[in-house]
Symmetry: C2
Subunit: 226 residues, 2 copies
Amino acid sequence: MTSSHKQSKKQDLPPTAWAVLGLLSFPGERTGYELKKWADSSLRFFYWSPAISQIYAELRRLEELGYATSARSGPEEARAKRRYAITAAGREALAGWAGDTAEAGPPVLKHGLLLRVWMGHLSEPERLRALVGEHVERTLAELAAVREAMEHAAEVPEWGFPALALRWSERQHLAELDLARALLADLDDLAGLPGVDAPGAPEAAAPARGAVGEAPPAGRPGARRP
Amino acid sequence: MTSSHKQSKKQDLPPTAWAVLGLLSFPGERTGYELKKWADSSLRFFYWSPAISQIYAELRRLEELGYATSARSGPEEARAKRRYAITAAGREALAGWAGDTAEAGPPVLKHGLLLRVWMGHLSEPERLRALVGEHVERTLAELAAVREAMEHAAEVPEWGFPALALRWSERQHLAELDLARALLADLDDLAGLPGVDAPGAPEAAAPARGAVGEAPPAGRPGARRP
DNA sequence: TTGCCCATGTAATTTGTTACATGATTTA
DNA sequence: TAAATCATGTAACAAATTACATGGGCAA
C-alpha cells in the first residue's frame, strides 16, 4: 500500500468534499443522512448544503483517500447503514486546506434580485418594488431560521465556532435587509418620484459608514429627470 | 422546417442564458467578446461572469430559440465576427422571466472564509485572524473595482439601473467589511482575550440596526473560558 | 395499511470550467 | 515585426442536480 494507490492528486478536492469532511471533524460518528440534515441547519446559511446523493459520493471518495472510515451496522448485505468518522490523515489534510491562504478565494454571490434590478428597464416600477418586497420576506424567513439554528448551537458548549458562523450569518441577513431598504429608496429616486409614495418607514437612512471611504452621503445617483 | 423545430421547452433556461440575454437588452449590437468584457465589469459584482466559451454557447442557444439574431461581418468563412441583437420575442420572454415571482429564488452565497471559521477548531487562532485579514484586503480591492465601474456607468445616461445595481454592490462590500470587523471581535472573545490586542480602530461598532429584531447588543456569545 | 421518516445508492442530465486551436487586427 | 488584444469556437472534463430504485421502522 505504498506505491500507486489512487491518491493521484492529494490536496485538490472540490470545496464540497472539504465541507463534508468538516462536518465529520466534529466529535461523533454519523451517517450521510444525518450529515445532510446537519448541513441544512448550519452550512447552508453561509456556504451551501449539497444534495444527499452528492454527500454519499463525497463520503465514498473521502474513504478512498483514507480521510474517513466507515463502520456498517445492521444488515451485512448491500446498502447497510454506515456511520462515518474522520481519520488522523483526514484531520491533517483538512487543517492544511482550512489554513491555506491560496485556497481561499473570494466569496461567491449570485443575487437574482440584483440581476433583475440591473435590467430594470424591462419591468414596471411596481413589479420591481414587489420583487424587492419578496426578497425582504425571504430574508426575514431566513433570519428566523438562522436564529433558530443559533439556539440549537448554543446548547452544545464545543460549538463555539459554528455559533460564531451563525452570528455572522445573522448579521449578514440584517445587512441584507438594510441593503434592500436603501435599494428601494434608490428605486424611488430613479423613478422620479422623490420620497412621495413611501408607505412606512420615515427615512431611516445612515446605511454602512466605514473607515474606508465614506459611502456617498449626499446626492442620490439617478434623480435625473428632464 | 416548421413542425417540430427544437424549441421543446420555451421558458425554462438556465439563469446564465437570461443574464446574457439581459446584456443584449441594452441598446446596440455586440459580439460575444464584448459581452464578456462587459459582464466582467458589471454582472460579476452581484451575479456572475460566465466563461467566454459559455457565452458563445448561450448566444447560439438564444439564436436557435429566436430570442436573438446575429449578423456576421468580415470574412464570409467560418468563425466570422458576429454581432448579436435581441429580438422582440427575446425581449418579451426576458421581461416575463425578470418579473416572474416564482423564478426568483434566494441569493446564493458561498463564503469560503465562513466555512473555515465554522471549522475554526482546526486552525490556530492567528491563522484564522490572518484569513479574515486577507478577506478584508480582497474586499477592499473589489470595492475599488466597483467604484471604478460606477464611474463608467455614470457616463451613460440610460444606465440608470446598472448604476443602481453597482451602488447596491458598493454598499454590500462596505457591509462585508463591517461583518469582518465584527467577526474579528467575536474571534477575540472566543479566544478568551477580551479586547486587548485590537490594533487600530477605536470600537467603531453599531453595525446593522433594524426595525426587525435588534442584533444582540450586549453580551458576546463565546467568552466562556474555564 | 397507508404514509412518513430513515437510509443508501444509481443513472441521466445539465451546467459550467479549462485547455486547446485558429486567425485577424492593432499597437509598440 | 513581435506582442497584445480582438474574436470564435471545439473538446474533454468536473461538479452538481434531479429522478429513480429500494427497503426498513414507526405512527396515525
